[in-house]
Protein backbone atom coordinates (compact mmCIF):
# COMPACT_ATOMS: atom_id res chain seq x y z
CA UNK A 1 0.00 0.00 0.00
CA UNK A 2 1.45 3.37 -0.94
CA UNK A 3 1.55 6.33 1.43
CA UNK A 4 -1.29 8.16 -0.27
CA UNK A 5 -3.63 5.23 0.04
CA UNK A 6 -2.53 4.64 3.62
CA UNK A 7 -3.64 8.20 4.28
CA UNK A 8 -6.96 7.49 2.55
CA UNK A 9 -7.37 4.40 4.73
CA UNK A 10 -6.64 6.47 7.84
CA UNK A 11 -9.26 9.00 6.76
CA UNK A 12 -11.89 6.29 6.21
CA UNK A 13 -11.16 4.89 9.67
CA UNK A 14 -11.57 8.36 11.15
CA UNK A 15 -14.82 8.81 9.21
CA UNK A 16 -16.03 5.52 10.73
CA UNK A 17 -15.52 7.12 14.14
CA UNK A 18 -17.65 10.10 13.14
CA UNK A 19 -14.78 12.50 12.40
CA UNK A 20 -16.36 15.23 10.29
CA UNK A 21 -13.04 16.88 9.42
CA UNK A 22 -11.79 13.58 8.01
CA UNK A 23 -14.93 13.38 5.89
CA UNK A 24 -14.31 16.87 4.49
CA UNK A 25 -10.67 15.98 3.80
CA UNK A 26 -11.59 12.74 2.07
CA UNK A 27 -14.09 14.63 -0.06
CA UNK A 28 -11.53 17.30 -0.85
CA UNK A 29 -8.99 14.72 -2.04
CA UNK A 30 -11.21 12.45 -4.10
CA UNK A 31 -14.20 14.48 -5.27
CA UNK A 32 -12.68 15.65 -8.60
CA UNK A 33 -12.11 12.01 -9.59
CA UNK A 34 -15.38 10.69 -8.20
CA UNK A 35 -17.38 13.52 -9.72
CA UNK A 36 -15.58 12.93 -13.03
CA UNK A 37 -16.68 9.29 -12.95
CA UNK A 38 -20.25 10.25 -12.02
CA UNK A 39 -20.44 12.80 -14.83
CA UNK A 40 -18.85 10.38 -17.31
CA UNK A 41 -21.59 7.88 -16.50
CA UNK A 42 -24.57 10.23 -16.18
CA UNK A 43 -23.63 12.84 -18.79
CA UNK A 44 -25.54 15.41 -16.75
CA UNK A 45 -24.21 17.64 -13.98
CA UNK A 46 -27.41 17.52 -11.89
CA UNK A 47 -27.47 13.73 -11.94
CA UNK A 48 -23.71 13.57 -11.32
CA UNK A 49 -24.14 15.75 -8.23
CA UNK A 50 -26.93 13.48 -6.99
CA UNK A 51 -24.72 10.44 -7.54
CA UNK A 52 -21.76 11.97 -5.71
CA UNK A 53 -24.05 13.05 -2.89
CA UNK A 54 -25.50 9.55 -2.53
CA UNK A 55 -22.04 8.01 -2.76
CA UNK A 56 -20.53 10.30 -0.12
CA UNK A 57 -23.54 9.79 2.16
CA UNK A 58 -23.01 6.03 1.83
CA UNK A 59 -19.31 6.46 2.64
CA UNK A 60 -20.22 8.44 5.78
CA UNK A 61 -22.73 5.82 6.92
CA UNK A 62 -20.80 2.71 5.94
CA UNK A 63 -17.19 3.70 6.57
CA UNK A 64 -17.00 1.04 9.27
CA UNK A 65 -17.68 -1.63 6.63
CA UNK A 66 -14.51 -0.73 4.71
CA UNK A 67 -12.10 -3.67 4.67
CA UNK A 68 -8.55 -2.84 3.60
CA UNK A 69 -7.91 -6.51 2.83
CA UNK A 70 -10.51 -6.35 0.05
CA UNK A 71 -9.58 -3.14 -1.75
CA UNK A 72 -7.75 0.15 -1.47
CA UNK A 73 -9.73 3.01 0.05
CA UNK A 74 -9.71 4.74 -3.32
CA UNK A 75 -11.10 1.65 -5.08
CA UNK A 76 -13.75 1.29 -2.38
CA UNK A 77 -14.94 4.87 -2.86
CA UNK A 78 -14.77 4.69 -6.66
CA UNK A 79 -16.83 1.50 -6.75
CA UNK A 80 -19.43 2.98 -4.40
CA UNK A 81 -19.90 5.98 -6.66
CA UNK A 82 -19.97 3.76 -9.76
CA UNK A 83 -22.63 1.54 -8.16
CA UNK A 84 -24.74 4.59 -7.24
CA UNK A 85 -24.50 5.80 -10.83
CA UNK A 86 -25.49 2.37 -12.15
CA UNK A 87 -28.52 2.32 -9.83
CA UNK A 88 -29.58 5.68 -11.18
CA UNK A 89 -28.91 4.76 -14.82
CA UNK A 90 -30.87 1.54 -14.53
CA UNK A 91 -33.75 3.35 -12.81
CA UNK A 92 -34.11 5.78 -15.66
CA UNK A 93 -33.44 3.33 -18.47
CA UNK A 94 -37.05 2.86 -19.57
CA UNK A 95 -37.84 4.73 -22.75
CA UNK A 96 -34.24 5.55 -23.36
CA UNK A 97 -32.56 4.30 -26.45
CA UNK A 98 -29.53 2.17 -25.82
CA UNK A 99 -27.57 3.79 -28.60
CA UNK A 100 -27.94 7.23 -27.02
CA UNK A 101 -26.86 5.99 -23.63
CA UNK A 102 -23.59 4.60 -24.84
CA UNK A 103 -22.85 7.37 -27.30
CA UNK A 104 -19.21 8.31 -27.13
CA UNK A 105 -18.66 5.93 -24.28
CA UNK A 106 -15.21 4.87 -25.38
CA UNK A 107 -13.96 8.43 -25.39
CA UNK A 108 -12.15 9.23 -22.16
CA UNK A 109 -10.83 12.57 -23.28
CA UNK A 110 -12.85 15.69 -22.62
CA UNK A 111 -12.54 19.42 -22.84
CA UNK A 112 -13.93 19.47 -19.30
CA UNK A 113 -10.94 17.63 -17.92
CA UNK A 114 -9.69 19.66 -14.96
CA UNK A 115 -6.29 18.17 -14.36
CA UNK A 116 -5.41 20.93 -11.94
CA UNK A 117 -8.10 19.59 -9.60
CA UNK A 118 -6.00 16.49 -9.06
CA UNK A 119 -3.20 16.17 -6.60
CA UNK A 120 0.20 15.47 -8.19
CA UNK A 121 0.15 11.83 -7.12
CA UNK A 122 -3.22 11.22 -8.78
CA UNK A 123 -2.00 12.99 -11.91
CA UNK A 124 0.94 10.61 -12.06
CA UNK A 125 -1.29 7.60 -11.46
CA UNK A 126 -3.70 8.82 -14.13
CA UNK A 127 -0.90 8.91 -16.69
CA UNK A 128 0.06 5.38 -15.70
CA UNK A 129 -3.54 4.16 -15.96
CA UNK A 130 -3.98 5.74 -19.37
CA UNK A 131 -0.71 4.16 -20.43
CA UNK A 132 -1.93 0.80 -19.14
CA UNK A 133 -5.25 1.15 -20.96
CA UNK A 134 -3.46 2.01 -24.18
CA UNK A 135 -1.67 -1.34 -23.98
CA UNK A 136 -4.94 -3.28 -23.94
CA UNK A 137 -6.35 -4.29 -27.32
CA UNK A 138 -9.05 -1.90 -28.63
CA UNK A 139 -11.90 -4.42 -28.49
CA UNK A 140 -11.02 -5.38 -24.91
CA UNK A 141 -10.72 -1.73 -23.92
CA UNK A 142 -14.05 -0.86 -25.49
CA UNK A 143 -15.78 -3.74 -23.70
CA UNK A 144 -14.08 -2.80 -20.42
CA UNK A 145 -14.99 0.87 -20.62
CA UNK A 146 -18.58 0.07 -21.57
CA UNK A 147 -18.73 -2.31 -18.65
CA UNK A 148 -17.31 0.24 -16.23
CA UNK A 149 -18.94 3.48 -17.32
CA UNK A 150 -22.15 2.70 -19.21
CA UNK A 151 -24.12 0.89 -16.54
CA UNK A 152 -25.03 -1.72 -19.15
CA UNK A 153 -25.11 -5.37 -18.23
CA UNK A 154 -22.83 -7.69 -20.17
CA UNK A 155 -25.84 -8.90 -22.15
CA UNK A 156 -26.70 -5.33 -23.11
CA UNK A 157 -23.09 -4.66 -24.08
CA UNK A 158 -23.17 -7.76 -26.29
CA UNK A 159 -26.35 -6.47 -27.95
CA UNK A 160 -24.83 -3.04 -28.42
CA UNK A 161 -21.64 -4.41 -29.95
CA UNK A 162 -23.46 -7.07 -31.96
CA UNK A 163 -21.19 -9.73 -30.50
CA UNK A 164 -22.01 -13.00 -28.72
CA UNK A 165 -22.28 -12.73 -24.92
CA UNK A 166 -19.46 -15.25 -24.46
CA UNK A 167 -17.16 -13.16 -26.64
CA UNK A 168 -17.95 -9.99 -24.69
CA UNK A 169 -17.44 -11.70 -21.35
CA UNK A 170 -14.12 -13.12 -22.56
CA UNK A 171 -12.97 -9.68 -23.75
CA UNK A 172 -13.86 -8.12 -20.43
CA UNK A 173 -12.18 -10.94 -18.51
CA UNK A 174 -8.99 -10.70 -20.55
CA UNK A 175 -9.05 -6.92 -20.27
CA UNK A 176 -9.48 -6.98 -16.49
CA UNK A 177 -6.76 -9.60 -16.05
CA UNK A 178 -4.39 -7.64 -18.23
CA UNK A 179 -5.26 -4.46 -16.37
CA UNK A 180 -4.45 -6.18 -13.07
CA UNK A 181 -1.14 -7.45 -14.45
CA UNK A 182 -0.10 -4.16 -16.00
CA UNK A 183 -1.38 -2.16 -13.06
CA UNK A 184 0.68 -4.23 -10.64
CA UNK A 185 3.75 -3.76 -12.79
CA UNK A 186 3.40 -0.06 -13.52
CA UNK A 187 1.48 1.37 -10.56
Amino acid sequence: MDEADQYNVDLVRRIAQGDQSAFALFYSRLSPILYGVAFRMMNDHGDAEDVLQEGMAYIWRKANSFDASRSSAFAWAAMIVRNKAIDKLRARRRGERLRERVKGSSDLSSDQDDTSALEPLFREQRNQVRSVLSQISPDQREALELSYFSGLTHEEIAAHLGAPLGTVKARIRRGVLQLRKLFQREV
Binding site: E3, A4, Y7, Q20, S21, F23, A24, L25, Y27, S28, S31, P32, I33, Y35, G36, V37, F39, R40, A48, E49, L52, Q53, A57, W60, R61, R70, S71, S72, A75, W76, A78, M79, R82, S109, S110, Q112, D113, D114, T115, E119, P120, L121, F122, R123, E124, Q125, R126, V129, V132, L133, Y148, K169, I172, R173, V176, L177, L179, R180, F183, Q184
Partner: protein, 231 residues
Protein backbone atom coordinates in the same frame (compact mmCIF):
# COMPACT_ATOMS: atom_id res chain seq x y z
CA UNK B 1 -4.03 -20.91 -8.58
CA UNK B 2 -7.35 -19.26 -9.31
CA UNK B 3 -9.19 -21.24 -12.00
CA UNK B 4 -11.07 -19.60 -14.84
CA UNK B 5 -14.49 -20.10 -13.23
CA UNK B 6 -13.39 -18.29 -10.09
CA UNK B 7 -11.72 -15.57 -12.15
CA UNK B 8 -14.98 -14.99 -14.01
CA UNK B 9 -16.96 -14.99 -10.75
CA UNK B 10 -14.56 -12.44 -9.26
CA UNK B 11 -14.88 -10.17 -12.29
CA UNK B 12 -18.66 -10.48 -12.35
CA UNK B 13 -18.72 -9.74 -8.61
CA UNK B 14 -16.61 -6.60 -8.98
CA UNK B 15 -18.58 -5.32 -11.96
CA UNK B 16 -21.94 -6.00 -10.29
CA UNK B 17 -22.99 -8.77 -12.69
CA UNK B 18 -23.84 -11.36 -10.03
CA UNK B 19 -27.33 -11.87 -8.65
CA UNK B 20 -27.68 -10.96 -4.95
CA UNK B 21 -27.60 -14.64 -3.99
CA UNK B 22 -24.50 -15.34 -6.08
CA UNK B 23 -22.80 -12.20 -4.74
CA UNK B 24 -23.49 -13.34 -1.17
CA UNK B 25 -22.08 -16.78 -1.96
CA UNK B 26 -18.98 -15.20 -3.49
CA UNK B 27 -18.49 -13.00 -0.44
CA UNK B 28 -18.70 -16.08 1.74
CA UNK B 29 -16.03 -17.71 -0.41
CA UNK B 30 -13.86 -14.59 -0.05
CA UNK B 31 -14.02 -14.96 3.72
CA UNK B 32 -12.72 -18.52 3.49
CA UNK B 33 -10.15 -18.32 0.72
CA UNK B 34 -7.16 -16.05 1.28
CA UNK B 35 -5.82 -16.54 -2.25
CA UNK B 36 -9.18 -15.66 -3.79
CA UNK B 37 -9.45 -12.59 -1.54
CA UNK B 38 -6.02 -11.33 -2.57
CA UNK B 39 -6.76 -12.00 -6.24
CA UNK B 40 -10.10 -10.19 -6.00
CA UNK B 41 -8.47 -7.24 -4.22
CA UNK B 42 -5.92 -6.89 -7.01
CA UNK B 43 -8.68 -7.07 -9.61
CA UNK B 44 -10.79 -4.53 -7.70
CA UNK B 45 -7.90 -2.06 -7.44
CA UNK B 46 -7.13 -2.56 -11.14
CA UNK B 47 -10.73 -2.10 -12.25
CA UNK B 48 -11.27 0.90 -9.96
CA UNK B 49 -8.19 2.55 -11.42
CA UNK B 50 -10.19 3.04 -14.64
CA UNK B 51 -11.87 5.86 -12.71
CA UNK B 52 -8.60 7.78 -12.93
CA UNK B 53 -8.77 7.65 -16.71
CA UNK B 54 -12.04 9.58 -16.76
CA UNK B 55 -11.79 13.36 -17.06
CA UNK B 56 -11.60 14.84 -13.57
CA UNK B 57 -14.05 17.61 -12.79
CA UNK B 58 -14.10 19.76 -9.69
CA UNK B 59 -17.68 19.76 -8.33
CA UNK B 60 -19.39 23.03 -7.46
CA UNK B 61 -18.06 24.29 -4.09
CA UNK B 62 -21.53 24.27 -2.52
CA UNK B 63 -21.99 20.54 -3.13
CA UNK B 64 -20.08 19.58 0.02
CA UNK B 65 -22.43 21.69 2.16
CA UNK B 66 -25.39 20.03 0.48
CA UNK B 67 -23.96 16.59 1.22
CA UNK B 68 -23.20 17.53 4.82
CA UNK B 69 -26.74 18.78 5.25
CA UNK B 70 -28.19 15.61 3.76
CA UNK B 71 -26.27 13.37 6.13
CA UNK B 72 -27.03 15.50 9.13
CA UNK B 73 -23.68 17.17 9.67
CA UNK B 74 -23.73 20.74 10.77
CA UNK B 75 -21.78 23.51 9.11
CA UNK B 76 -19.85 24.26 12.23
CA UNK B 77 -16.26 25.33 11.91
CA UNK B 78 -15.20 21.75 12.48
CA UNK B 79 -16.37 20.97 8.97
CA UNK B 80 -14.25 23.05 6.72
CA UNK B 81 -13.72 23.13 3.02
CA UNK B 82 -10.95 24.85 1.16
CA UNK B 83 -13.35 27.70 0.47
CA UNK B 84 -14.46 28.12 4.05
CA UNK B 85 -11.40 27.94 6.24
CA UNK B 86 -12.01 28.91 9.85
CA UNK B 87 -11.83 32.62 10.47
CA UNK B 88 -9.21 32.05 13.16
CA UNK B 89 -6.70 30.81 10.60
CA UNK B 90 -7.30 33.76 8.34
CA UNK B 91 -7.14 36.16 11.25
CA UNK B 92 -3.88 34.63 12.42
CA UNK B 93 -2.42 34.98 8.95
CA UNK B 94 -3.36 38.63 8.94
CA UNK B 95 -1.76 39.06 12.37
CA UNK B 96 1.29 37.14 11.25
CA UNK B 97 1.70 39.25 8.12
CA UNK B 98 1.32 42.39 10.14
CA UNK B 99 3.85 41.47 12.76
CA UNK B 100 6.31 40.18 10.19
CA UNK B 101 6.30 43.64 8.74
CA UNK B 102 7.73 44.79 12.06
CA UNK B 103 11.18 43.89 13.30
CA UNK B 104 12.00 40.30 14.21
CA UNK B 105 12.51 40.87 17.91
CA UNK B 106 9.17 42.54 18.25
CA UNK B 107 7.60 39.78 16.16
CA UNK B 108 8.85 37.08 18.49
CA UNK B 109 7.66 38.84 21.60
CA UNK B 110 4.26 39.55 20.07
CA UNK B 111 3.80 35.92 19.02
CA UNK B 112 4.85 34.81 22.50
CA UNK B 113 2.34 37.20 24.00
CA UNK B 114 -0.45 35.96 21.73
CA UNK B 115 0.40 32.38 22.63
CA UNK B 116 0.17 33.18 26.30
CA UNK B 117 -3.25 34.59 25.67
CA UNK B 118 -4.21 31.32 23.92
CA UNK B 119 -4.98 33.11 20.69
CA UNK B 120 -2.48 31.05 18.74
CA UNK B 121 -2.30 28.10 21.04
CA UNK B 122 -2.95 25.45 18.39
CA UNK B 123 -1.41 27.20 15.44
CA UNK B 124 2.07 27.19 14.01
CA UNK B 125 3.38 30.27 12.24
CA UNK B 126 6.46 30.20 10.06
CA UNK B 127 8.17 32.97 8.17
CA UNK B 128 9.96 31.47 5.17
CA UNK B 129 13.38 32.81 4.25
CA UNK B 130 14.70 33.29 0.74
CA UNK B 131 17.13 30.59 -0.37
CA UNK B 132 18.46 32.65 -3.28
CA UNK B 133 18.99 36.32 -4.03
CA UNK B 134 16.11 36.35 -6.50
CA UNK B 135 13.70 35.96 -3.59
CA UNK B 136 15.35 38.33 -1.16
CA UNK B 137 12.41 40.75 -1.35
CA UNK B 138 9.75 38.05 -1.10
CA UNK B 139 7.65 37.86 2.02
CA UNK B 140 6.32 34.40 2.82
CA UNK B 141 4.23 33.38 5.81
CA UNK B 142 2.65 30.04 6.63
CA UNK B 143 0.00 29.51 9.30
CA UNK B 144 -0.55 25.83 10.02
CA UNK B 145 -3.26 24.19 12.09
CA UNK B 146 -1.97 20.69 12.98
CA UNK B 147 -5.28 19.62 14.47
CA UNK B 148 -7.29 20.35 11.37
CA UNK B 149 -4.40 19.52 9.03
CA UNK B 150 -4.86 22.69 7.02
CA UNK B 151 -3.22 26.02 6.66
CA UNK B 152 -2.72 29.25 4.81
CA UNK B 153 0.24 30.51 2.83
CA UNK B 154 0.71 34.10 1.85
CA UNK B 155 3.41 35.14 -0.58
CA UNK B 156 4.04 38.70 -1.69
CA UNK B 157 6.61 40.35 -3.94
CA UNK B 158 7.14 37.11 -5.78
CA UNK B 159 7.40 36.78 -9.54
CA UNK B 160 5.58 34.07 -11.47
CA UNK B 161 7.73 31.03 -12.25
CA UNK B 162 8.97 30.40 -15.78
CA UNK B 163 6.54 28.87 -18.27
CA UNK B 164 6.03 25.17 -17.69
CA UNK B 165 6.76 25.47 -13.97
CA UNK B 166 4.79 26.00 -10.75
CA UNK B 167 5.64 26.86 -7.20
CA UNK B 168 4.84 24.02 -4.81
CA UNK B 169 4.55 24.10 -1.03
CA UNK B 170 6.04 21.29 1.08
CA UNK B 171 5.73 20.36 4.73
CA UNK B 172 8.73 18.75 6.38
CA UNK B 173 7.60 15.99 8.70
CA UNK B 174 10.47 14.13 10.44
CA UNK B 175 8.29 11.03 10.62
CA UNK B 176 8.15 10.76 6.84
CA UNK B 177 10.87 9.89 4.36
CA UNK B 178 10.05 12.69 1.96
CA UNK B 179 8.46 16.13 2.35
CA UNK B 180 4.67 16.13 2.12
CA UNK B 181 3.14 18.07 -0.75
CA UNK B 182 0.74 20.80 0.28
CA UNK B 183 -0.12 21.67 -3.28
CA UNK B 184 0.73 23.95 -6.11
CA UNK B 185 0.85 27.70 -5.44
CA UNK B 186 -0.52 30.07 -8.05
CA UNK B 187 0.85 33.60 -8.00
CA UNK B 188 -1.40 36.42 -9.12
CA UNK B 189 -0.44 39.26 -11.44
CA UNK B 190 0.34 41.52 -8.49
CA UNK B 191 2.97 39.07 -7.30
CA UNK B 192 0.80 37.89 -4.42
CA UNK B 193 -0.47 34.43 -3.55
CA UNK B 194 -2.97 33.56 -0.83
CA UNK B 195 -3.34 29.82 -0.71
CA UNK B 196 -5.46 27.66 1.55
CA UNK B 197 -3.80 24.27 1.63
CA UNK B 198 -4.16 20.75 2.88
CA UNK B 199 -1.30 18.24 2.65
CA UNK B 200 -1.73 15.09 0.59
CA UNK B 201 -0.83 12.94 3.59
CA UNK B 202 -1.35 13.19 7.32
CA UNK B 203 1.39 15.29 8.92
CA UNK B 204 2.36 14.22 12.42
CA UNK B 205 4.64 17.20 13.07
CA UNK B 206 5.46 20.10 10.80
CA UNK B 207 9.15 20.74 11.45
CA UNK B 208 9.39 23.17 8.57
CA UNK B 209 7.92 24.44 5.33
CA UNK B 210 9.47 25.00 1.94
CA UNK B 211 8.51 26.30 -1.46
CA UNK B 212 10.18 24.87 -4.54
CA UNK B 213 9.91 25.37 -8.27
CA UNK B 214 8.53 22.24 -9.89
CA UNK B 215 7.33 21.23 -13.32
CA UNK B 216 3.83 22.52 -14.10
CA UNK B 217 1.21 20.69 -12.08
CA UNK B 218 3.62 19.80 -9.29
CA UNK B 219 5.58 16.73 -8.28
CA UNK B 220 5.06 13.97 -5.76
CA UNK B 221 8.49 14.65 -4.23
CA UNK B 222 10.51 17.86 -4.48
CA UNK B 223 12.77 17.78 -7.51
CA UNK B 224 13.29 21.45 -8.31
CA UNK B 225 15.07 24.33 -6.64
CA UNK B 226 13.97 25.24 -3.10
CA UNK B 227 13.45 29.00 -3.15
CA UNK B 228 11.90 29.63 0.26
CA UNK B 229 12.16 27.68 3.51
CA UNK B 230 11.60 28.18 7.20
CA UNK B 231 10.28 26.75 10.43
Amino acid sequence: MIDETKQQAAIDYILGELSPADAAAFEKALGQDEELRQFTKELTDGVASIALAAPSIRPRPELLSRIQKKIGLSNRSKIVTLSFLPWALAACLAIACLILALNTLRTKSLIAELRERDLLVHLQIAALQAQSDSYARTSAVVVWDPQKQEGLLRLSSVSAPEAGHDYQLWIIDPAQKTPVSAGVVTVGKAGVANVEFRPVRQVSAAAGFAVSIEKAGGSTVPQGQIVLAGR
